[in-house]
């Protein structure tokens, strides 16, 4: 099996369906309707800077929340008996198999005024608006992407050598110290990949904010979707900026991960 030739179809495939499309985004972003070179699309794209920042902010909050929820959860699960572990992980994954849009729609139903949450809280005297605001968008995001945070952390924690923990205990560490000195440092790769897997999709998603957000909660994905059909040059310019931002983010996360591994 020394054949390099088997990679040729895939190389052609990548060229046609990955590289050329990306180049086309670049070309579309740097031209105008007449097809000549223009930076106009970028000038227009920069008018959406605030939406861009808002999307990053929402994505950041969602990622942090996912981490706060998933990290202890992963730790708790690894402390269970193995058969229980499998069951709990499976139970947590089942909702992920539901269609993405149905999961969002479920939250629309749950949070709507006159809906179950409203009825329940009104009964004990709390009145409020739970839908159509940034909070609802973040809840939706956490619901969508939390398992992406949980799984890598859980996998990494599960692989930690029990002997290492015992050794630390033998050397007189209490539970807190074992966690700080052994479990936490060893789980960092899981955290990093979890952060990547939550942050990237939540920064670039569309639809979630359309259904759960109010008038101020438009995200950059929604703008791309809206504007692309009106003026694809601006749409391409925003996509390009988003792509570059995500790449920089990934590189940074990678560097951070490597350094931690060395330390």
């Amino acid at each position: 099996m020394k054949s390099k030739l088997l990679s040729v179809p895939y190389l052609i495939w990548m060229l046609v369906f990955t590289m050329i499309p990306l180049v086309m985004i670049g070309i579309t972003a740097f031209t105008d309707n007449s097809g000549s070179f223009s930076l106009e699309a970028f000038t227009s794209a920069f008018e959406y800077t605030n939406v861009f920042l808002k999307s990053l902010w929402i994505a950041l909050l969602s990622t942090v929340l996912c981490l706060i929820i998933a990290y202890p959860l992963a730790y708790i699960i690894t402390q269970m008996r193995e058969s229980t572990q499998n069951t709990v992980v499976m139970l947590l994954m089942i909702p992920m198999w539901m269609n993405f849009l149905l999961r969002i729609y479920a939250w629309v139903l749950l949070l709507q005024s006159g809906g179950p949450l409203d009825t329940l809280l009104s009964a004990i005297g709390i009145h409020g608006n739970y839908s159509n605001n940034t909070g609802a968008v973040i809840v939706g995001m956490v619901y969508e992407y939390m398992p992406f945070m949980l799984l890598p952390i859980y996998t990494v924690m599960g692989k930690i050598d029990k002997g290492l923990i015992e050794a630390a205990q033998d050397l007189g560490s209490n539970k807190m110290m074992v966690f700080r000195k052994v479990v936490f440092p060893l789980s960092i790769p899981g955290i990093i990949s979890g952060i990547t897997m939550v942050f990237v999709p939540s920064a670039s998603t569309f639809v979630v904010a359309q259904y759960l957000g109010g008038t101020d909660d438009i995200m950059i994905g929604d703008i791309i979707d809206k504007i692309f059909f009106t003026n694809n040059h601006i749409g391409a310019a925003i996509s390009l900026v988003l792509m570059i931002f995500i790449l920089v983010f990934l590189v940074l996360m990678n560097l951070f991960g490597d350094e931690e591994a060395i330390a």
Binding site: L6, P9, Q112, G114, N129, I223, F229, T230, N231
Partner: protein, 355 residues
């Protein structure tokens, strides 16, 4: 050996391409490809006739029925995607644009005898003054729907959409043309043919409104209003009639200075490959019983005089479905905007939402 495998893979890939695309674009003789607005035909809902099945039964022609959400989707699809449709149903301003750009075929009205039932008001439409390309499908006006339990004083015109007391309970059109038109009317600008300057003024007005809004919506308005989650919204009058059937607390208001009269008309685009079948379909849609059935379901205005006679009194006398000549005379119709003005309008609207 591996060379052969590699070549075989390439062949499989190319082969799959060829089969994938070979079937596209050529429809057989007994078909008609209809591209209509979503939820814009009676398909057997609420115990009404399934108009499409009825057509297939009567003529043996198979209907490939697909839907779009906005005029712009339709336009982009025809312009950019190399598709073949036989009947499309754009609104008036899009029709002028499409005629101007040579995207429509002239109809042979001899094949559409039911055209004689059409009310004169809806012949020789502004967008098609010589009556060559269009047969009206449905028409309507925009109006306000509000929840009586939430809005204390019955509104008289669009100003109610800027009412501070209703903050957080107001919905607004999520479509640039209708939203801008409402803002322009409140400013006393004629929305039918606006300039970039008018658009700027209207954008300002919409910016004032944005903090008061719950959401920009299109058909989500049904759920919002029918389940009493919002107080007030502008929408198409026929749809408001349907909402009022579902929720007794709702009432409507036709703005006193008139509103937007729109009509959607059936046309045959130049990419059509089944023109005769398309004309049969258009003719069938204007058969009085069929047009009446559509009107009962949609509650939009019916331009077919014979069909109106078949309607129940409560539909016939409903101001939302058939507002009457006196009100229609006060209404304005969208004209065709220059492409750059139109694009400007759409971009401004996205910007307002993005701020």
């Amino acid at each position: 050996m591996k060379k052969i495998l590699a070549i075989a893979l390439c062949v499989v890939m190319l082969g799959s391409f060829a089969t994938m695309f070979a079937g596209c674009g050529n429809s057989g003789a007994g078909e008609v490809n209809v591209y209509n607005w979503g939820e814009y035909i009676a398909e057997g809902q609420d115990g009404l006739m399934n108009v499409i099945e009825e057509f297939e039964k009567e003529t043996g022609i198979k209907v490939n029925y697909t839907t779009y959400e906005t005029n712009e989707d339709l336009y982009n699809m025809l312009k950019n995607s190399n598709v073949s449709y036989d009947v499309v149903i754009p609104s008036e301003y899009m029709i002028s644009k499409m005629i101007k750009e040579g995207m429509l075929l002239e109809l042979n009205y001899d094949n559409i005898p039911n055209y004689k039932y059409i009310n004169d008001r809806f012949k020789n439409l502004d967008c098609d003054p010589d009556n060559k390309y269009t047969v009206i499908y449905q028409w309507g006006v925009t109006a306000l729907v509000y929840d009586k339990t939430k809005v204390e004083e019955a509104p008289k015109n669009w100003d109610a959409l800027w009412d501070e007391n209703l903050k957080g309970q107001i919905l607004m059109f999520n479509n640039s043309r209708d939203a801008m038109a409402i803002a322009m009317q409140t400013l006393g600008i004629d929305p039918s043919n606006c300039t970039k300057d008018d658009i700027d003024k209207a954008s300002e007005k919409l910016r004032e409104q944005k903090p008061l809004l719950k959401k920009y919506v299109m058909d989500q308005v049904f759920t919002e209003m029918e389940t009493s989650q919002s107080a007030i919204a502008p929408y198409y009058a026929g749809d408001i009639a349907a909402m009022m059937d579902e929720n007794e607390d709702l009432d409507y208001c036709l703005p006193e200075y008139g509103s937007n009269l729109f009509y959607d008309a059936m046309c045959i685009p130049t990419c059509s490959k089944n023109k005769e079948n398309a004309e049969k379909f258009i003719n069938f849609m204007q058969k009085p019983e069929i047009a009446a059935e559509n009107c009962k379901y949609l509650r939009y205005g019916c331009a077919n005089d014979e069909a109106v006679k078949l309607l129940d009194d409560d539909i016939k006398n409903n101001e939302l479905t058939l507002p009457g000549d006196e009100y229609l005379d006060k209404c304005y119709v969208f004209g065709n905007l220059d492409a750059d003005v139109y694009e400007y309008m759409q971009e401004q609207f996205v910007k307002i939402q993005a701020e």
